[in-house]
């Protein structure tokens, strides 16, 4: 291995095109690589595997990645600015559109942050409903991840199986709150919608049907030698790097840090439920895969407990019709499927937030890409992008 690396030590630096060096000032002094074989490859924004409009500039030596640079913002819609010009209730639908595959979680985080600002708490029934929906949403988000991740690595079929099962979740969402993707499910202070007739049965039915399906996905992938080779040892992040990079969610847990906001700082009714935090050992792509698969199982466990223990009572706390939080600021975060999703809201006492800051997990996690892919091959870049489970709507906001 080292033979090839030390190969080109005496080479002259090659010329790269105009402007390229501006993008990449990585490693140009790294004498183990020859500039003459250096190739700058532009991946994205219009590329099949960048999950939207991510643009990654790869500096390659043959197939080997010497460095990357992410160029983001193609989907920037100024969500934070919009937030400053909408009332608290009006802004609620907008947060659905950040991480659009896990819109329920986004809504939950936002509602909780505002509730904290208002010092109200959702009634127990609402909290249980919220947990059920959020966990369903976590499963659906993980299914989208699994499908697309497998697709990136070349397995075409899991995508369809995942989407088939996700469809059941989306049906529950549609029945519950009238929309499948951008749900706008929760309101500040609780839930607007009461559980529809048969909600519990639907959830249970889904849980019962889903676990065998999950085994099926595993049969297709977990032991498959190609899958294992493609994922094991790829994109390793050790716990120290994870923490320094602020990486959260399954990526952090796969590195062996047993940290989950649902346990660490329980919000809603999570302290009522019995569930495990799966962790990995090596922090590679395979571990992240296993962690997410296990998380789906744990989510099923939570959903079952929550459905069984669904209390009765009101579903929305008393909140003023016009929400005018007192002057103050609050940071609140929840464990979204992709990591810590935080909202930092500054209120000036008016009906609109003075400052609405979203701490998106995908944005922060994406920063780890460069560290993860150095020294790997081009094919691993897509695997790593897939395993980071980013949603560009959230990265760019």
């Amino acid at each position: 291995m080292s033979d090839f690396e030390t190969d080109y030590r005496h080479a002259k630096p090659g010329q790269s095109g105009p402007g390229v060096t501006d993008y990449l000032d990585l490693d140009t002094k790294d004498e183990t690589f020859l500039d003459a074989t250096e190739l700058v490859l532009n991946m994205g924004p219009q590329h099949p595997s960048t999950h939207g409009v991510l643009r990654v500039i790869l500096k390659l030596d043959g197939e080997k990645v010497l460095g990357t640079e992410c160029i983001i913002g193609y989907l920037h819609r100024g969500v934070e600015k919009i937030g400053e010009h909408r009332t608290y209730a009006m802004f609620n639908p907008y947060v659905d559109r950040m991480d659009y595959v896990a819109s329920v979680s986004n809504g939950l985080g936002y509602c909780e942050a505002v509730e904290k600002l208002l010092s109200v708490e959702a009634p127990p029934r609402a909290q249980y409903l919220r947990v059920i929906l959020t966990e369903l949403c976590r499963i659906s988000s993980h299914q989208v991840w699994l499908g697309t991740h497998a697709l990136d690595i070349g397995a075409l079929t899991p995508l369809f199986y995942c989407f088939r099962d996700r469809e059941e979740i989306l049906k529950i969402f549609e029945k519950y709150c009238g929309a499948r993707l951008t749900t706008h499910a929760f309101r500040i202070g609780g839930c607007l919608y009461e559980a529809y007739d048969g909600f519990e049965q639907d959830c249970k039915k889904f849980c019962d049907a889903f676990l065998p399906k999950l085994d099926e996905y595993e049969e297709l992938l977990t032991t498959n030698r190609i899958w294992v080779r493609r994922t094991k040892g790829v994109g390793i992040l050790n716990p120290e790097d994870c923490i320094a990079l602020g990486v959260t969610g399954p990526v952090l847990r796969a590195s062996g840090v047993k940290w989950d906001l649902r346990k660490a700082q329980p919000y809603e009714s999570y302290k009522d439920f019995d569930f495990e935090i799966p962790t990995g050992l090596n922090g590679d792509t395979y571990d992240r895969y296993l962690v997410r698969i296990e998380e789906m199982r744990q989510s099923v466990r939570i959903i079952r407990q929550a459905v069984d223990g669904l209390p009765t009572g009101p579903i929305i706390a008393k909140v003023p019709k016009v929400i005018k939080p007192p002057v103050g600021e609050v940071y609140h975060s929840i464990e979204a499927p992709k990591g810590e999703l935080g909202y930092f809201i500054v209120s000036d006492g008016s009906t609109q937030p003075y400052r609405m800051r979203v701490r998106p997990p995908s944005f922060v996690n994406l920063q780890a890409l460069d560290k993860m892919v150095r020294g790997l091959l081009v094919a691993d870049v897509v695997a790593v992008i897939g395993t980071l489970d980013i949603v560009l709507g959230e990265v760019d906001r």
Binding site: L118, V322, P326, V330, Y331, S350, T351, R397
Partner: protein, 243 residues
């Protein structure tokens, strides 16, 4: 906790139309009558408070409905944060620590800009706040020190969060935290992109979400959106953006 750090002058209180749930008795009809401009642009040049379309109309209606379920007219107040950490910091830095408070259970420190880096480093190394959750800023155009820099830190060992804030003037630079936490790299770039706050020693300070060549810093309160729209979107993309 002085008011001025929290918010700008409590400008004209403004109501957006809030949703009265369906079964509420009908709102007196005349309240809504003169509201002809039903599609005002919320992004209109909005330095302090944009023209509130709904304000005069809703005013009589709201107190009737909103007053009674709001038992706490003033809301929670920040309380001094009493802990070993706060005490030791206070004793070490004296007036450098301008505030150490908790608000709805969340702790925050307001420190002087000059000792910010030192504090951050100390928080990571000595106090175990090894995870930088978020870095952001808030713009208060009416204040002398226009910007609040906010660092949200989290400690895995202690399982607690703290916010560190500092106030800086427009044009001031802040020493980068990317040497302390790698994650600060992009977060500071975003602050730079959105607020125009420069960071000393940042490895790669350039716009992150907005394209190169964008003018202005959108999350400043005095950012003219319409002008930007004409200047950039129409010229570079050649489309009517419909703003």
């Amino acid at each position: 906790m002085p008011e001025e750090t929290k918010g700008p002058s409590p400008a004209s209180p403004q109501q957006g139309g809030e949703k009265p749930p369906a079964p509420t008795p009908p709102v007196p009809a005349e309240t809504a009558a003169p509201q002809a401009v039903a599609a005002p642009q919320p992004e209109t040049p909005a330095a302090a408070k944009p023209a509130e379309p709904a304000k005069p109309a809703e005013k009589p209606a709201v107190p009737a409905t909103a007053a009674k379920p709001a038992p706490k007219p003033e809301g929670p107040k920040p309380e001094p944060w009493e802990s070993d950490l706060a005490a030791s910091l206070r004793s070490q830095y004296g007036t450098g620590i301008r505030e150490a408070c908790t608000y709805v259970g969340q702790k925050y420190l307001v420190v002087d800009k000059s000792i910010l880096y030192e504090i951050l480093l100390r928080m990571r190394d000595d106090e175990g706040f090894d995870y930088c959750v978020d870095i952001t800023a808030v713009h208060y155009p009416k204040r002398d020190e226009q910007f609040d820099m906010v660092y949200v830190l989290y400690s895995f060992p202690k399982n607690e969060r703290v916010r560190i804030k500092t106030q800086i003037k427009d044009g001031d630079t802040v020493r980068t935290a990317s040497g302390i936490w790698e994650t600060a790299n992009w977060l500071e770039r975003e602050v730079y992109d959105m607020f125009g706050i420069s960071f000393d020693g940042h490895p790669d300070l350039k716009r992150i979400l907005l394209p190169e060549g964008w003018k202005g810093y959108p999350l400043r309160k005095d950012y003219p959106i319409l002008q930007q729209d004409q200047e950039w979107v129409q010229i570079n993309l050649g489309i009517e953006s419909g703003q």
